[in-house]
Symmetry: C2
DNA sequence: CGGCGGATTGAAGGGAATCAATGCTTGTGG
DNA sequence: CCACAAGCATTGATTCCCTTCAATCCGCCG
């Protein structure tokens, strides 16, 4: 650990990078799991749920209301590490579900707790939850103040940005393994209205969504729909350390994090 | 710090409590600030914003879209500590604004970074952001799948629970220093519809909201509106350490954390 | 007393939900 | 190899919750 009483004027960048490496190394030692669509990786009432890193495919975090309605609060893409807070809180309280064939590694809560005693890793964990909360904030802003048109635009741009930033894609085309019903549960709309809106985006030549393939035709146009929504670009550089270790993937075949 | 290779089977409770104490102690040494309504404590583009602890009154975190529309993503009550992630991320990206006369203490980002090298404090910080993200998740669920009626019910219950848990109130009556417009910006509704819905709650004898005083008349009835929404009751016990140091406050006069 | 911000209330329009069919793909079995 | 089932996507018709527009009211303060 950093000795003495370090004062990082320029920020905690070094610790962030180093902690990120340690965390990823620990995860890399864990067995690789492969599951099918709708597999529940973590259930809401699991005790001491593990920390999970997505490697291939996507997953979502969701809550299910008593009447069966569901809210998908976050989408997880390859490279995302979720649940570092589980180690502290002891309960996830939400489900984590695969949206399709998905590969991941998991770190037990106990192991995660041990790792957290390393300040660098703790800092990194802090940044990880911070990023998740940032996504949550952006999402809240979108569904609070944008209509269906804007929400879907924000959603597509958000996923696109995240994939690109992680070097999982290079062009504005990617695989999105979600049904329209899942998008609806994420955006606070109905399946029917999501469908109509996607079709409308197509008509406006902003984006094409066919089956599970998204092709963004007019990025600037889409940005126009979500003007003023917090820009993800604020994410600090150290963030980038998340990839670079791994080769970039491409297009329609679901992005893969090795 | 905890020596050796500690394995907390029962969880990180001790560290959480100890870290919480240290953090609060550090905050207690900072000067007390008092501001008026609409004062901006942290602006979206501030560099290295401080960690803030609310002592008296309430505040909110918000994003403002390009066209001026606003989304209030979180409400902060006395005792809440926000921005521990600022120390790591270096940017808040959202505004933190007082909803009325408000008292708080602030810890500079640099000092906060120093504190984070203490694993116990880091664990506590992790729990703090975890709690914030939990609130965000609950809120997303509410605005994604509940109508105006349910959203307001969930909102009132949520604030009530938080105040009660922190021993700031003992009965289902409290001061809520928010205008209907602010509630609207928080719940994704319009001021007009918030007004109608509050009035409807009154008609149903579920809750009375007059001026800034909330009186919950039928807690079970309100719970019926939000059936299935994640229960805040899951928050771990160590949490409770947040208060107990301070005497409880009461009623219409805004709750105060000493 | 006049003015101002917030709260209320009415009327009309619109975006999204709901209800209901009908395509389209893919996987399975005869 | 084709029929068939199942799940998802698509589309039309209708309903309704919420927004928008517009006044009016009310409590507070200089």
């Amino acid at each position: 650990m950093t000795a003495g009483v370090p004062i990082f004027s320029p920020g905690a960048s070094e610790d962030l990078l180093s902690g990120g490496r340690s965390l990823r190394r620990a995860l890399a030692e864990q067995p690789y799991h492969m599951v099918e669509r709708d597999a529940v990786i973590v259930a809401a009432d699991d005790r001491d749920p593990p920390v999970v890193q997505i490697h291939r495919g996507m997953a979502y975090r969701s809550f299910t209301l008593a009447d069966g309605r569901r809210a998908i609060v976050d989408i997880l893409i390859p490279g995302d590490i979720v649940g570092v807070d589980h180690a502290v809180l002891g309960r996830a309280n939400h489900d984590i579900v695969a949206t399709g064939r998905m590969g991941y590694r998991a770190l037990s809560a106990a192991t995660a707790r041990e790792l957290m005693t390393d300040p660098q890793i703790a800092i990194r964990a802090l940044a990880l939850i911070g990023e998740a909360r940032w996504r949550a904030d952006r999402h809240i802003t979108a569904i609070t103040r944008l209509d269906a048109h804007g929400r879907i635009g924000a959603f597509l741009l958000g996923i696109y940005e995240r994939l690109r930033r992680r070097d999982l894609i290079a062009r504005p085309t990617f695989n999105l393994p979600l049904t329209q019903e899942q998008m609806a549960d994420h955006l606070g709309l109905t399946l029917v209205h999501v469908n109509r809106t996607l079709r409308r985006l197509r008509g406006e030549r902003l984006a094409l969504i066919d089956r599970q393939v998204v092709i963004i035709l007019d990025i600037d146009g889409l940005h126009g729909l979500v003007r003023g929504l917090p820009e993800p670009s604020y994410l600090p550089e150290p963030w980038m350390g998340e990839n670079s270790d791994w080769p970039a993937s491409e297009l329609p075949a679901t992005a893969v994090l090795r």
